[in-house]
Symmetry: C2
DNA sequence: GTCTATACGATGATAGAC
DNA sequence: GTCTATCATCGTATAGAC
């Protein structure tokens, strides 16, 4: 299913391959680092240009404004995140298998590319209004993917999900927050975190053994 | 157990009651709002003073630097969060009951005081090194509270937690991320989110019915 | 396409009047 | 304790040389 290089990285093998020319890519990578470290508003165009080894003016040859840089980063990152989830949904298998794949892939990306993911997830408010509506639409699609997998599992008797909207939100939220803490504590690999989280999420939604979903102890 | 007003709010009944004199409190409340909206580094002392209805110079009568404001906010917020968790731990009941109370109280705080919580949870890196080590110590104590409750549940046969460290991290992470999304989507109350999350977390750690913890299907 | 130079307003923090 | 005025620096973005 994957024929080209995967984009939207921040330090992996061939990240941001779709951003050309090379000077524009260097600036964008520098912007990701700076935005992640200090936040969009506090990052100066001088800092971005400096990290890319250029003069402040060089930035404006490739990007009209600082916000255009953020928009490019956010768009590519959200495209990538949605692609991961969609691949899991359409990859076949039971609802449990699709959910496990969606969660582990989504978490792996937030861990591996946590610098990018921080910008993508925490700087939405800094986008221009027009760009924000575009990005919010992509986020709603990601939400819908997870929601459909959960609904499928309920239909097939694999899952017990009393609050579909809230649980969808919680699952995505749990995964997204990996971008905040990853690499600031322990020594886990993205793969390990992805596997752990897939297990935890399956436990959150699993139907009680034996099948009858009405038999669960009412917690709420 | 609670004899005084609870502090660390950001718009509730009597929040930040322990900050005196009143001018210092007004400045601190203004700083919370500004830091949450734009981030610490991008917030100007003029903005803070302006929101508090004062001149830029007035800020420096009550706080030596902008960073001292952040430190005060972070310290009070972390004290409050730890107090909530500790109260749940020492409040009695089974491990399941203590965990449910810890999660729902912690989530309620992150939802109700999401403006404060955003500053508290997302601006750690902006603290001066000396202040950051102090705050990190408090965070480790919060982590230890949740870890102990989980370990108690495992000991008592209520919980099945193959990865204690990772699950502790995931539980806290899930709760903390409420500060990011709350009020940016639906129409849930803090109480509702707290109850939902307590249920989801209990499902994550619950031992399989019947008791024998070795009987779980190996997911990892 | 990249540079140096620069416009012009905003920045954290201080001095000294009241 | 609060103000106005100020310092020295840094902010985004542009102009024009090469």
């Amino acid at each position: 299913m994957r024929t080209a290089e995967q984009p939207a990285g921040d330090g992996g093998d061939k990240p941001w391959g779709e951003v050309t020319p090379e000077a524009a890519r260097r600036l964008l990578v520098a912007a990701v680092e700076a935005f992640a470290e200090r936040g969009y508003h506090a990052t100066t165009t001088r800092d971005i240009a400096g990290r890319a080894g250029m003069s402040p003016a060089a930035l404006y040859i490739h990007y009209k404004t600082k916000e255009e840089l953020l928009h490019r980063i956010s768009r590519i990152g959200h495209d990538r995140a949605l692609a991961l989830l969609t691949a899991a949904e359409t990859g076949g298998g039971s609802a449990s298998e699709r959910l496990a794949e969606a969660v582990s892939a989504f978490v792996r990306w937030h861990a591996e590319r946590h610098t990018t993911a921080r910008v993508v997830q925490y700087e939405l408010d800094a986008l221009a209004p027009e760009h924000r509506v575009e990005i919010v639409k992509l986020r709603r699609e990601s939400d819908a993917v997870v929601r459909r997998i959960l609904a499928d599992g309920v239909r097939d008797g694999e899952f017990d999900v009393p609050d579909l909207t809230g649980t969808t939100l919680a699952v995505l939220s749990l995964c997204i927050d990996v971008a905040r803490w990853f690499n600031s504590r322990g020594h886990r690999t993205p793969d390990e975190v992805g596997a752990l989280y897939a297990d935890l999420v399956l436990r959150m939604v699993a139907a009680p053994r034996g099948g009858d979903p009405d038999r669960r102890p009412g917690q709420k």
